[in-house]
Symmetry: C2
Subunit: 448 residues, 2 copies
C-alpha cells in the first residue's frame, strides 16, 4: 500500500539480541524456516492461505531506518559494529509459499523462507503477524460464505476488528474468501473491493418520524437505497418501506430493499417478505445483520428463511470462536543441516519441503503428501518460489485473481471437510523420504 | 504517532451515505453520541478505559484528502456539492471522556461526543475501532497483572495479535494496565515502554550443542542474558545455565536467569529452582512463558510456584476468552432533544451524562451513579471535557501517568469485583433525574 510505514522495527527484541550474538559469532549461514499451523482450532478442518502480499512488501522494504538504529543504540546493549551492520541490512533471501486463496491443512507449510539466519529471524515476527491474521480471517470467512449457500455476504467488521490494520485486512481476507463487499471505505479504495452501506438507527432517530427518515434517504439515493426498518417496529417499518417503494416507482426510481438488524430475524424475514409480496413488490430485497456468524447463516439456509443477503461483522472479524491459531515458524535447516524441534507434542518436520496434492477423477481433493522439496511425487506442487534473492519472482496477483483461485479450490474441497461442526480430518501424509529424514535427525539428537 | 496515516476514510460507507442525506436535508444540528459497553463478557466485572489518545489524534487530524474525495466521486452515488462539502470538513466538536487507565462498568459512558451530526457520525467507526481494542486488552491485561500477585508480567503478543496496529496497541494497553514491558521493539520506541527479550529455540538449534549457544549468547550480553533452557531437556538446560553463570561470575559478569517455555511449567520451575539454589545461585531468576493467561498465573500464585516473572502472549493479546465486547455508540441527543433506542434488550440512556463515583472511608469504590451531566450529585465526576471545538483542552497525559492512575484506581476496586471467575457485579445506579428523563422520552416515543 502506498505510503505504508516501514515495519522493520516491528519485531520482538529477542530477534535482535539473537542477531547480535549471531553477528558476534560470525554466523551468517543460510537458515530455512517453515511456517505452518500445528493443530485445528475447534470446528476447523481446513485453512485458507492469505496475507502473502503484505509479507513480500515487507521483505522488499526491509531496512532499519536511522531513527530505529538510534533507538536501539540508546538501549545500551547493542555494539556499534552490530548496529552499523543492521543499518545496512537488506533482505536477500528466497521465499516459497502457497498462493493466496489456496486451501491447506495442519502441518503443511504455507511458507518457507531461506535466508541468512539474522534476516530470517528478524522477519519472523512480522511474517507471523500478517499471515496469522489474514489466514485466520479468510478461514472464518470461507465458513460464512459456505453457510450462506449462494446468498451474498458482506463484511461489517471494521468497528470491532482489532485496530486499523485488522479492519483493513479483515475486509481483504473476507473478500478473498468469497465475501461480496465491505462497509470499509478505505479498504474499498486500497484493495478495490466493492463497498456497501445502508443507514444506522441513529439516522432514523434524528427525524421526528421514521417515514421522514426513509423519504430523506430515498431522495438522496434514488437508485441505491436500502432502508433500516427495525428502529421502532419492524413490521411497521416494512409497511413504510412499501409506501416509499411506491413513491419512488412513481418517480421512475427504485428502492433496493430493507435491512433488519435485531429481533427474531427468521420470523421477521418471513413476515416482511409476506408484506412485500402481498404489496406486489417481490423485487424488494431483505437484508440481515446483527451479531451473525456462520452458524446463524447455516440455520437460515437450512430453514429457507427468505433473506437475500447478509452483513457479518464482529464474530467474523475477530474469528470469535477461534481468535488465534498456533501458527509457528520453525527452523528446519541450518547451513544445509536439517534441524527439528523435539519438545513434547511439538515435533517439527526437518528440511525444505513441498506439499503434493492429489485429485480424484472428478477434480476433488483426494489427499496431500508433505515431502521434501526436491522429491518427485505425484500430485500438484503447491509451494511456489515467490521471492528470489529478496525480489519477487513476479508481481503479486490482483486480489480478484486470488479470490477466483479460492473459489475454484473451495469447490474441490470435500463437503465433509467443510462441515461447520466436527469436520472430517482431511488426509495428509508424510512422504517416505521426509519420514526417514525425521527419524534420522531425531536419532542424531538423541545421540548428542 | 508521527507520520501516522490519515484515517478519515477508515469509516463505514453508511456513515457517508447518511451524511449525504443529512447534507441534502440541511441537517447540520448538533448530535450527542454516547459510547458504552452494554454487558460484561464472560468472567468480566470491570473494564479499563484505554485508547483515548489515538481518538483525539484522529479527531484533530480529521480531513478527507484529495485522493479520498476522488475515490468517493468514482462511486457515482455522491453529489459534487456534497463532496465539496466533505473536502472542507474538519472536526469541530466537543468530547467528554474517562481518563485512560480509569476503571468503569457496563452502561457507563466512557466517551460522549457532541458535534454536528455528520462529523459525529463519520467518526463513529474509528472511535469504536480504537477504544474497543485498547479497552478490551487493558481489561484482559489487568486480570493478568492481578493474577501474577506482584510478579512482573511482560507482553509477548505481537506475533499473534491481529495485525500491526493491534500489535502496537496491545503493547500500549497492557503496559497501561500494569505490565512491566513488551517484546515489541517498535512499541518500545513509539510509546517509551521498556523492551525485553531472551532467545528462541531456533537460536539454540543453530548450534551443535546447547552449551555453545548459551556461551555465545552470554558473550554477547555479559550483563543482560536470560537463557532459554527447554529446547532439549529442561533440567539439563538448567545445569548448563549453572555452568554458564559460574563462567560469567569468574569474568565479573552476571547471568540474569532462565526462561522455560514448555512442559509442566510448575513442576519444572520447582526442579530448576532447586538446581539453582543447591548450586548456591539463589539470585538466578526463573521466567515462564508458553500459552499463559491469567488463570495459569493465578494457579502459580496460589501454589507458590517459584517463578519470578511471566511472559504472556497470544491469549492476552487477542483477549482469547472474550475477543470482543458489545461496545456501542448511540445517539442520545439531537438538537437539544433527548433521544433513545427502544429495540428489545437494547434500551439506551438519553441525554448528556456524567458518572459519579462514591468511595468508602478507606478509599475503596463504593458505588457509581450515572446521572445527567448538569446534575449535582455526590461523588467524583469521572467524565472530563478533553476536547472543545475540535482541539484538545490539554495535551494527553504521558503513558506513565495513565499507568499510575490505573494502578491507584485498581487498588481501590473491591477484590470481589476483580475475581477471575464469576466476579461480583459492582453497583451502578441511575440518578432519579436520568431515570425520569428516560421514562419521559420512552413515553413520548410510544405516543408517536
Amino acid at each position: 500500500m502506498a505510503g505504508e510505514k516501514n515495519w522493520t522495527l516491528l519485531t520482538d527484541l529477542y530477534q535482535l539480541t539473537m542477531a547480535q550474538s549471531y553477528f558476534r559469532e560470525r554466523q551468517f549461514g543460510d537458515a530455512t524456516f517453515s511456517l505452518f499451523i500445528r493443530s485445528y482450532p475447534a470446528d476447523r478442518g481446513y485453512f485458507v492461505a492469505a496475507g502473502l502480499s503484505a509479507v513480500l512488501d515487507y521483505l522488499e522494504d526491509f531496512a532499519f531506518e536511522p531513527a530505529a538504529i538510534d533507538y536501539l543504540a540508546r538501549q545500551g546493549q547493542f555494539s556499534e559494529d552490530f548496529l552499523n551492520y543492521l543499518s545496512r541490512l537488506r533482505f536477500c533471501g528466497d521465499v516459497w509459499a502457497l498462493a493466496e486463496g489456496q486451501i491447506f491443512f495442519k502441518d503443511e507449510p504455507l511458507l518457507e523462507i531461506t535466508a541468512p539466519v539474522i534476516q530470517a529471524q528478524i522477519a519472523e515476527t512480522f511474517i507471523i503477524n500478517q499471515l496469522h491474521l489474514q489466514t485466520l480471517i479468510a478461514s472464518k470467512a470461507a465458513r460464512c460464505v459456505d453457510a450462506a449457500a449462494g446468498r451474498p455476504v458482506v463484511d461489517f467488521a471494521l468497528r470491532r476488528a482489532h485496530g486499523t490494520d485488522a479492519g483493513m485486512k479483515v475486509a481483504r481476507a473476507s473478500y478473498l474468501a468469497g465475501f461480496s463487499g465491505t462497509s470499509n471505505v478505505l479498504a474499498g479504495k486500497e484493495y478495490g473491493i466493492p463497498i456497501v452501506g445502508t443507514m444506522a438507527h441513529s439516522f432514523v432517530s434524528t427525524f421526528e418520524r421514521e417515514i421522514d427518515a426513509f423519504r430523506a434517504y430515498a431522495a438522496a439515493f434514488p437508485r441505491g437505497a436500502i432502508l433500516l426498518i427495525d428502529t421502532y417496529d419492524t413490521l411497521e417499518g416494512a409497511r413504510r418501506a412499501v409506501a416509499i417503494a411506491r413513491e419512488m416507482a412513481a418517480r421512475g426510481e427504485q428502492l433496493i430493499g430493507v435491512r433488519i438488524d435485531s429481533g427474531d430475524l427468521a420470523e421477521l424475514a418471513r413476515a416482511v417478505r409476506k408484506i412485500f409480496d402481498e404489496a406486489g413488490l417481490p423485487q424488494l430485497k431483505v437484508f440481515a445483520s446483527g451479531g451473525l456468524d456462520e452458524f446463524d447463516l447455516a440455520r437460515f439456509s437450512a430453514e429457507r428463511v427468505p433473506f437475500d443477503s447478509y452483513g457479518v461483522g464482529t464474530r467474523m472479524g475477530t474469528s470469535a470462536d477461534a481468535p488465534w491459531s498456533d501458527m509457528s515458524y520453525k527452523l528446519v535447516e541450518y547451513q544445509n543441516r536439517p534441524v527439528l524441534k523435539l519438545s513434547t507434542g511439538k515435533v517439527s518436520l526437518p528440511g525444505r519441503k513441498q506439499v503434493f496434492r492429489r485429485r480424484d477423477p472428478a477434480g476433488g481433493f483426494a489427499g496431500d503428501t508433505i515431502g521434501l522439496r526436491n522429491e518427485t511425487l505425484g500430485g500438484e506442487k503447491l509451494l511456489r518460489e515467490v521471492m528470489r534473492a529478496g525480489r519477487r519472482t513476479a508481481p503479486s496477483p490482483p486480489l480478484g485473481e486470488s479470490r477466483a483461485l479460492f473459489a475454484a479450490e473451495f469447490a474441490a474441497l470435500p463437503a465433509a471437510v467443510k462441515a461447520l461442526r466436527n469436520p472430517q480430518i482431511y488426509p495428509v501424509e508424510l512422504s517416505p523420504a521426509l519420514h526417514a529424514l525425521r527419524q534420522e535427525v531425531s536419532r542424531k539428537y538423541q545421540e548428542c
